[in-house]
Symmetry: C2
Amino acid sequence: MHRRRFIGSAAAGAGFLFGRNVPAVAHAGPGAQLRVNGARIAERLRTLAQFGRNADGGIDRVAYGDADLAARDWVMGAMREAGLDVRMDTAGNIIGRRAGLDDARPPLMTGSHIDSVPGGGNYDGQVGAVAALEVAQTLADQNVRLRHPLEVVIFQNEENGKVGSKAMRGQDPASYLDLMTHSGKMIRDGIRFIGGDPARLSEAARQPGSIAAFLELHIEQGAVLERAGVPIGIVLGIVGIKRWAVTVEGFANHAGTTPMDQRRDALLGAARFVDAANRVARSVPGRHVATVGTLTAEPGAPNVIAGRALLTLEMRDLELDTVDGLFERMRVEADRVAAETDTRFEFTEIYRTLPARTDERMRAVIAEAAGELNLATQSLPSGAGHDAQEIAQLAPMGMIFVPSIGGISHSPREFSESVAIENGANVLLHALTRCDRHPDLRDAHAL
Amino acid sequence: MHRRRFIGSAAAGAGFLFGRNVPAVAHAGPGAQLRVNGARIAERLRTLAQFGRNADGGIDRVAYGDADLAARDWVMGAMREAGLDVRMDTAGNIIGRRAGLDDARPPLMTGSHIDSVPGGGNYDGQVGAVAALEVAQTLADQNVRLRHPLEVVIFQNEENGKVGSKAMRGQDPASYLDLMTHSGKMIRDGIRFIGGDPARLSEAARQPGSIAAFLELHIEQGAVLERAGVPIGIVLGIVGIKRWAVTVEGFANHAGTTPMDQRRDALLGAARFVDAANRVARSVPGRHVATVGTLTAEPGAPNVIAGRALLTLEMRDLELDTVDGLFERMRVEADRVAAETDTRFEFTEIYRTLPARTDERMRAVIAEAAGELNLATQSLPSGAGHDAQEIAQLAPMGMIFVPSIGGISHSPREFSESVAIENGANVLLHALTRCDRHPDLRDAHAL
């Protein structure tokens, strides 16, 4: 059978690096001819981009803000359009279910998040969320029913520490409920704000084995795929992350009357630490990263020597031992800076996620789906944390990356081409249909 | 005549370093026996400290805030208690007038400010304000009338750039009206808030020669007097100040997916500049100071590489040439950091005050008054800016310093002993009575 359907629309494909306008190879399974609707994905992404849109063309849709709430309402409506039964769990995760032929099976699950960092872009999370919707919509439109139920999930509050997916995998709520978020709300109050119930989070927890497989499509957020000219990334694993709140204590004093050699300048101490942490991180080879993304000085006036400075330190690697080793070296640097500047450093670990390897069979399923669609693949680690790494504790987990132009993310200039997203969604669709037929996946969590 | 009155109360003097419980030397002029009421000064300082009091025991009484407004009301009441005719000029400066024997003479003027930096202490400005009130109250209580009118002035908004005194000396309002203040109000709106009229600021301007002399008592805010064990400082001059807003432009990106060698981290650039500016300032001998007191990163999240960092740079010296020379060297450092970090630096001068030497005759008058009161003196420059330096353009200007314990200022731990303040107020009182009789001071502005 000669197939006339192409990967990527011809119009969108003109400007795209990776789209290959060649016929896809047919395969034997049911639904092999299924393709997502790229125009519908693009339209939904445009609509979603209106919630929290800012003057830079990006979005300020931090979790638990008004824009987040409005976007969640819109998502629930889109789920219903796609024929899904919509519910919200007690953590505030939005779950749309499509019944399976054997509805007693554990569900296949796919989804992502729609909250953003402050000043974020229009692709991080949203691509996977809209692609998951599109998979469900395509199955509904084509009247295809999988053997397993399909659950499309929109995890709440990914950007402040994957709150929704942590609740789903049953992490102790005491570890996060009282943390502050970008919205200015504590997580506890944020969960109430979006309609969840922080007192009943245990009801949102799923049991290991209760999900047949989890797949998340996401933009790469780095430049590996674009530089390699490869349209589909198969994620090897997700780095672990540690974050510390760092307080530098000095002594606030008058900037005019306090001689340079009598100061205890907390901001000077903090600045030297920022530089030292960067030098330590760059002093050893590897894919680890270390970032100070926030720094404030108190009291914070041009004519007052800062008495206190607050900053955050974050490190990521596939091996937390690497992170811990770097951190010890940074603490030595902090001791040196403290002595030089007559300040005091205090480090408090405020966040930690373990590295998560993807399931080998899921990587194979993604590779097969991409091959069937005639799309080249490359394996790579994810430097970003994802909800998928939490769900990896419940089910075989896989992740599909599509290229980010310029490797830009968490920025209004974050961008992925429409045809790249369409390709990713098609791989997601076919990876899910392959999972549906996979002999191992019913109880593969045990492997 | 053997005088029994002591300088400083015996009770308060017990814990004080500088008070000398020896009889004062009588002098020939009227009012030579006058002494301020130290207990009343202390009581008024305690009352004033309630407006904007914060949990640290300091005050948050930034200009144009509610606490500032309430404190201003209280001051006007205290002025009326001291028998002064109270008015507010169009800039919002509060002026209390005591008629002179020859009321057509230009007034003697003394005063200070009552606004604070965020997280400030209870002595900066307030000591000079309450001492000026006390001088007027003492003259009223003792029924002493000077030849010149006496004006007690509370300048509005010293801490955001001496707004009130600038208006009084007739600086072009366009240079400051649209600046933001710690209160969150623009100066224009702040002036309205306290009852002034930003459209009629020219009416607040005084002409050179229209003030016979200006004296300001202030805490030293440094540790020179305390270390020397000297109770009265005679200020040689007030340093000039320049401030710049510094913007560091990088590129916001995802902290997990952007390799260390592909970052344009604005916060890293800013941190290296803070360190470099400090090194430059300390590389040459002198009393100049350089301070970065504020630094913020945008967008400001632990998992986002900062795309922009904003900081303020301030330098002070009695010679602005020194400041300019250091600044040029700092810009060279900024260029180096920009190249290292792939960021861009932009410097905007946002504030400048010229150095102001005190009037030689005023220094002599202060020295004579202190000698009469048997209080040792030391001459020193002021590293802090003061309203007095603005009024120096209108009248012969002098400043009296009292010791700051530990040299701490702009901090809740700012402190001066009651007896030190009482001594300073007595020197202020007697310096003013000496000015009143001074043959030069009627039109001394021309000198």
